[in-house]
């Protein structure tokens, strides 16, 4: 696979800006820390040469930004990793932005690092990190360079990558990959194999850490509502305070339900969670249940496909059968 570097992207962006194909570029910008890369919009090549960055921390999914960006004048360039392209398609399916106002460049991806992983490997004095082939080299103040295997330290979403194929683009840089599916339901299945009490204890422990920062919602490319029900005083469920019990479950269950059948499993929710709650396990549960009961469905794989929860088959299984079939019968 051709390695995509900062230079390649920069060159592509600069030429598209120069030719007038686009007037803005949605890209990544260096943050305070090495792992703290943030999305940014560049309007000229000069800024780009100064601030644009591309490394193994550029995991952010850009698709959601297109909703706002396409409201502006002119075309915007976006780089789509495989994950992002699914969200891109899903948003198009839901008529959330104008395809004509986007120039999409597909880029291959074989996994992006999470800030939390790196921070865990080098809790103190991390000054830099880089990828060198299969190795991840961390520069630290106290321990010098620490070299670890890149693949072994990928976050869950990349370890169990659903697809290395960019499904929507105007132009592809490098070679496109294939749809994979590296056991992404293993963790869900493991939870299903537990007893109800064990599962409750697991989630109680996870969700009780939630601080209701709404980062998961804000980053989610499926959570693009003009006004979220949890922010809407008229919805009856508006609630921003935190509590230790059911409140968080309500939020996370409803959020997962609202994106069920629309979630592209990009894993951004878990990436951004400051409390490291494995939120993707909620979404994957729905995807797993949908696949098992209504046939395999990948949101965003095709533009215009009908989401499973706004669809039905006469021969669908009953609710009780679905619950029991998903490990509910364990005694």
């Amino acid at each position: 696979m051709q390695t995509i570097t900062r230079d390649i992207l920069l060159e592509k962006a600069a030429s598209l800006l120069a030719s007038g194909t686009v007037n803005r570029v949605l890209g990544w910008k260096k943050g305070e820390f090495i792992y703290d890369v943030t999305p940014a919009v560049f309007t000229n090549a000069e800024d780009m040469y100064r601030h644009f960055t591309f490394d193994c921390f550029c995991g952010a999914n850009f698709s959601k930004y297109l909703i706002k960006e396409t409201q502006k004048e002119g075309k915007v360039l976006v780089f789509l990793k495989p994950c992002d392209s699914y969200s891109f398609n899903q948003l198009l399916t839901e008529h959330r932005f104008d395809r004509e106002k986007v120039y999409a460049v597909g880029i291959p991806c074989d996994g992006m690092m999470d800030a939390s992983t790196v921070k865990a490997l080098a809790p103190e004095g991390l000054t830099g990190a880089e990828r060198n082939g299969d190795a991840l080299i961390l520069h630290t103040l106290y321990d010098g360079d620490v070299t670890v295997s890149y693949a072994d330290h990928l976050p869950d979403r990349c370890k169990h990558c659903k697809s290395k194929k960019v499904v929507a683009y105007d132009e592809m840089l490098g070679e496109n990959g294939e749809v994979t599916d590296a056991g992404r339901f293993d963790e869900v299945a493991a939870l299903e194999a537990m007893t109800e009490d064990e599962r409750f204890a697991f989630w109680q422990n996870e969700l009780s850490r939630c601080i209701r920062c709404n980062a998961c919602r804000d980053v989610c490319p499926a959570c693009t509502c003009e006004k979220c029900v949890f922010d809407n005083p008229g919805s009856g469920v508006e609630n921003k305070a935190i509590s230790d019990r059911f409140e968080e479950k309500l939020f996370h269950v409803i959020r997962a339900f609202h994106v069920a059948g629309r979630c592209t499993d990009c894993g951004e929710c878990s990436r951004v969670c400051p409390q490291n709650i494995p939120l993707h396990l909620l979404n994957r549960k729905f995807i797993y249940d949908i696949d098992r009961n209504y046939g395999d469905y990948m949101a965003g794989a095709e533009e215009g496909s009908r989401a499973p929860l706004v669809n039905y088959q006469i021969a669908d299984p009953e609710a009780g059968e679905v619950v029991s079939g998903a490990g509910g019968d364990k005694v």
Partner: protein, 664 residues
């Protein structure tokens, strides 16, 4: 803040016996917003309603909670009362403390406690009620009748008589249906053709009626008052406007081996044919499966002999699109296939026939010109056995029979038996029956005449087995009265096959969004009180598509359906159900989830420019609900992730208020 009045009904002792109505009224009094609370023996009575009206005036009430029987019973009543009192009818909520409380709980304490909670839930909901006004839609003053049998003809005639245009869509080349195939009719024994064909002619000549024969409904859109229907008129390869019905072509066509469906394939007609002499429209039709010209391009005899020049081998199917205010289903019935009953040997012997085949055999216009002859050898049968309930009342095997009673068989079998004995007194006639069911005017008298005057042998019992042997049919059956097993050597056996709805009914019901029962009969809106309407507004039911019926019943239902249609078409506008979905354009994402689940296609999208708080403008795609089309199911409200879609009368916050009140 609403000013709420609570009215607790005793319903005599129906509620008061298990619910302490005073306690309910008292508890309600202390709920926020409740300014008046009382109880009364019969709230739905005139006095009770007056009490409500007085209270509204005296206490300036803005919302009413009636704790009474089911809203399915009296919601409409109390909404009218509210309107009479000068408040919006949708400011009323009913707490069902009879069917769902006093009648199902025996303990007074538990019943009272639950009634109070139900009252509180209704109070919580009415706090959030808003005045609703039904939308209005125009009514297209034209009706569509699907099916041109006696039911469809009668319905169409009655609607046309009232001055409304009506189209009959008939899938066969002629109207007339099953009745046209019958010989005589019970209990008067007048000939079916003599009473049916004048009606067919009436229909053809009525200027308000258009007969679209050899056609089928292909697509139905719209809603009550405003249906849009696509009809496919099949090519008959004969120009209907030019053909004079002289019939010369049907005699000259060289292709003679086409099974005659009108005579139940007991004889043949040509590839170009007129189904029967009195067909309406009396126009020839070419069967493309047999016509040599259409199959090979070589022949053209009919075109040569047709002096009118009506033959058109290039004719194509034609699509007719029309708007209708009301649609009547009159799709009729068919006898079930009796081949599956091996014991009756229908497929083994030509001399085992169904009752409808028997009708054709005795009909003067039938394959034997009315002489009763055995199909196998054309001989006169001397012993005839009639078997009743073949496939009717058969609960054991749904693949074979029907659980219901087909209703008409007892009477037509008595008719057949009587006619045979009348014409051929030398014939022995046996009827095996389980029960003889003859409710109906002059029906039992008719059956008794068959026994007493005509000497038909009625045998209480069922035939177990029929074996064709040496040109005879060995019939083995039980005689339960004599406690004997009978063995009869019969020449002809007639099976009274169960009847089932026409196969076209199920796809039609899907197009009409009309419901059906498990037997594929159309469901009526209410089994007793609304028997000629489908639950889907604007769809009416005529004849056997709703359930087994004889001719007099079919005709009365046909006229009843016509009366309902006339009632609908005589209105200029219709008031809709105001409890429809509504989208908040500020919250709508335009994602199309709602339109995906809407069964009525009531939701469309538009791009709208919004002025944002920062004075910028933004164009967004938003959903619009057509209130005339929306039926208020609420599927869209749950599909909508942002909560932009809500349902009037059952708003999210109203239902949650009820939930909160119940779980308090």
């Amino acid at each position: 803040m609403q000013r709420i009045g609570v009215f607790v009904c005793w319903c005599g002792s129906n509620i008061a016996a298990t619910v302490d109505v005073h306690a309910v009224a008292e508890a309600a009094r202390h709920e926020p917003g409740v300014v008046f609370s009382t109880d009364y023996q019969y709230m739905c009575s005139q006095a009770g309603q007056n009490m409500i009206i007085e209270a509204v005036k005296e206490h300036h009430l803005t919302g009413l909670v009636i704790c009474s029987c089911s809203p399915r019973m009296h919601e409409a009543t109390f909404r009218k009362t509210a309107a009479n009192a000068g408040i919006n009818p949708y400011m009323v909520e009913i707490a069902n403390i009879r069917e769902q409380c006093s009648w199902v709980h025996k303990d007074m304490a538990a019943g009272t406690e639950k009634a109070i909670i139900l009252a509180k839930a209704a109070i919580a909901k009415v706090h959030l009620n808003t005045a609703l006004t039904p939308g209005e839609s125009k009514v297209t003053k034209r009706a569509l009748v699907i099916g041109g049998g006696i039911a469809g003809i009668q319905t169409a005639l009655d609607i046309a008589e009232a001055g409304f245009p009506v189209d009959i869509v008939e899938k066969e080349p002629t109207i007339g249906g099953k009745m046209a195939q019958l010989d005589k009719t019970f209990p008067t024994l007048d000939c079916a053709a003599c009473i049916l064909t004048p009606k067919m002619v009436d229909a053809a000549q009525n200027e308000n009626i258009r007969i679209i024969s050899y056609a089928q409904v292909e697509e139905v859109g719209g809603f009550v008052g405003n249906f849009h229907v696509k009809i496919r008129k099949k090519a008959r390869f004969v120009n209907e406007d030019v053909c004079t019905g002289c019939g010369l072509c049907t005699e000259k066509c060289p292709q003679k081996k086409v099974p005659n469906a009108f005579n139940l394939n007991m004889d043949n007609h040509r590839a170009i044919y007129i189904p029967f002499a009195q067909a309406v429209p009396k126009v020839a039709v070419i069967d493309p499966n047999y016509c040599t010209m259409l199959k090979t391009g070589k022949c053209g005899v009919c075109a040569k002999v047709c002096t009118a020049g009506a033959i058109d081998y290039k004719q194509q199917d034609q699509i007719i699109e029309e708007e209708y205010g009301a649609i009547v289903a009159a799709t009729g019935y068919n006898p079930i296939s009796v081949e599956k009953f091996d014991e009756f040997a229908y497929s083994q012997s030509k001399d085992v026939i169904t009752s409808l085949e028997f009708e054709r055999l005795t009909n003067a216009a039938g394959p034997t010109a009315g002489k009763l002859l055995r199909p196998s050898d054309g001989e006169h049968p001397h012993t005839i056995v009639f078997v009743q309930c073949v496939g009717s009342r058969c609960a054991a095997n749904a693949a074979k029979g029907k659980e219901y009673c087909s209703k008409i068989c007892c009477m037509y079998t008595a008719k057949h038996a009587m006619l045979v004995r009348d014409k051929y007194p030398d014939t022995d006639v046996y009827v095996f029956y389980i029960d003889v069911r003859t409710p109906g005017k002059n029906f039992d008298e008719f059956y008794r005449r068959a026994v007493e005057e005509y000497g038909v042998h009625y045998i209480k019992g069922m035939v177990g087995k029929i074996t064709p042997e040496n040109g005879k049919l060995k019939v083995q059956g039980s005689d339960l009265i004599a406690d004997k097993q009978l063995h009869i050597d019969a020449d002809l056996v007639v099976l009274a096959a169960a009847i089932e709805p026409d196969k076209s009914a199920r796809p039609l019901a899907t197009m009409l969004t009309a419901s059906m029962d498990t037997n594929d009969f159309f469901t009526e809106a209410h089994p007793k009180l609304r028997p000629v309407e489908s639950p889907t507004a604007g769809i009416f039911l005529s004849g056997t598509c709703q359930g087994p019926k004889d001719i007099p019943e079919t005709v009365s239902q046909a006229s009843a359906a016509a009366a309902k249609v006339i009632g609908l078409l005589s209105k200029n506008t219709l008031k809709g159900n105001p409890c429809v979905a509504q989208s908040d354009e500020w919250m709508c994402n335009g994602c199309s989830s709602c339109a995906n689940v809407c069964p009525y296609g009531a939701i469309t999208y538009e791009n709208k420019e919004f002025r944002m708080p920062d004075r910028s403008t933004k164009v967004r795609r938003i959903a619009k609900v057509n209130p005339a089309v929306c039926q208020g199911c609420g599927a869209c409200t749950v599909a909508c992730p942002s909560g932009a879609m809500d349902l009037n009368g059952f708003k999210n916050n109203q239902i949650m208020a009820e939930v909160d009140a119940i779980c308090k």
